[in-house]
Symmetry: C2
Subunit: 111 residues, 2 copies
């Protein structure tokens, strides 16, 4: 996975932090499908994800309404239910407004 | 690392997404030290981190001023310079205001 190429702020970030239960139980397939499905939603800007014990997924949206609409997509609702019942020992969802962003400066050609 | 126990929003999240250069080059030690040092700063609320190729670290602060003050702490400034020159192939920093948050519902005792 690479760094999401998001536009100039403001935009919405949904920070999803989670701890998994043991075993896959269909998780890997669902996880892949949700990334694919999210990318098809209106207002989707990008997604970044890593797990190292703790899992962090940040999805980026044009605004809070686009993020809220994704939460209601049927297949995602089913995945959320399965997440609560089966896949996640614990999780936290934080909805945030990105107000400022900057990347690594371009290399100085004289370096 | 565990899920940060943050207070009720609003608060500030600094989302740091990065791709590392090959080799450690002092990175692991610095990384550990920065977590320790961040935790001592005024307004620090918590930190979450995972790397799986892509690295994502989210630090939480009482407000934007607390996050901005952390960026100026001398040892952190030195680490940022070393990050640009040596440790990170690429990165993006996003400063965001968390407006809403929720966790996994408590298990229903009748389940």
């Amino acid at each position: 996975m690479s760094i999401a190429r998001t536009p100039e702020p403001p935009y919405t970030a949904v920070i999803f932090t989670s701890l998994r239960t043991p075993g896959d139980q269909g998780y890997a397939r669902m996880s892949e499908r949700m990334v694919e499905l999210a990318a098809q939603q209106p207002g989707f800007l990008g997604i970044e994800s890593a797990r190292e014990g703790l899992g962090i997924t940040v999805s980026y949206w044009s605004d809070d309404d686009a993020a809220a609409a994704w939460k209601q997509v049927h297949e995602h609702v089913v995945a959320q239910e399965r997440g609560r019942s089966t896949w996640y020992e614990d999780y936290e969802v934080r909805i945030a407004t990105v107000t400022r962003a900057y990347g690594k400066p371009a290399a100085d050609p004289t370096d």
